[in-house]
Assembly symmetry: C2
Homo-oligomer: 152 residues x 2
């Protein structure tokens, strides 16, 4: 039903690093959850927080991943900053490679043009990179994180 | 911070009715949750199920509502059927009226062109209508539901 994407199911926590020409580099804590509720898609939920003792909330996003045509993957992601992503790509049993087919923006959202998400899943580790073209800058890496599976 | 949208916060359950020229009319059970986690937006989560004793899952969607410019409202909604909505509209303290500024579709999604969502919130009741232009049909009502606030 999920063409092997069930490997993503679980709760994952770890740390990441963000860079972009328009901001100071930063590190963050992160929790990702993929869950399956019986239908042929996964629910995706993510939150990040500031590194350090005070642990202030940073970003959050949510959406769905599902098998697409031709052994591909489709994802729909919503961000509270007024951004939606429609992504398509490939899945080889280890790595999900997704690129935006379209990005939706509310009037007050920052201008994001393309997003590329690469997730590599092992039995106990989930790593990802997020690349984007945004706010007038060329497509480049923005986030890289390394997460560990939490005991269920 | 939320310009009064906190009235939506809570868990709401009830029933709805769906119609569209391409389908048989149907009734459904529904649970909607709006939650606030400290930042200036609400997390929205929704599930519906078949009417009757077996209660099979039907639809689900998730996303965010937040105040927009000029006392308006913005929403970003993701659907596992491969659809994203970027919506903007108005909020008068009782009724949220949202229309899609853009709809994003994955290659395998049904063709949805416009969505209009009207939510009316009371202290103990939440009712909504969803209108849409989809699969070659003109813009018209698709869903109407009446939900009650669950005790917290």
């Amino acid at each position: 039903m999920l063409n092997g994407l069930e490997r993503l199911v679980g709760v994952w926590e770890g740390t990441g690093r963000g860079v972009y020409p328009t901001i100071e580099p930063f590190t963050y804590g992160e929790r990702v959850e993929f869950s399956h509720h019986g239908k042929p898609f996964l629910l995706y939920r993510q939150t990040t927080w500031t590194d350090g003792a005070d642990r202030q909330p940073l970003h959050t996003e949510t959406g769905y991943f599902r098998p697409g045509p031709d052994d591909g993957v489709e994802a729909v992601i919503a961000q509270p900053t007024g951004i939606s992503e429609i992504l398509t790509g490939s899945w080889d049993g280890t790595t999900v490679r997704l690129s935006t087919r379209s990005v939706g923006l509310t009037p007050s959202a920052k201008e994001v043009r393309t997003v590329e998400r690469i997730l590599e899943v092992g039995d106990e580790e989930l790593t990802y990179q997020l690349w984007m073209e945004a706010v007038g800058q060329p497509h480049q890496i923005h986030l890289a994180a390394h997460l560990q599976r939490l005991p269920s």
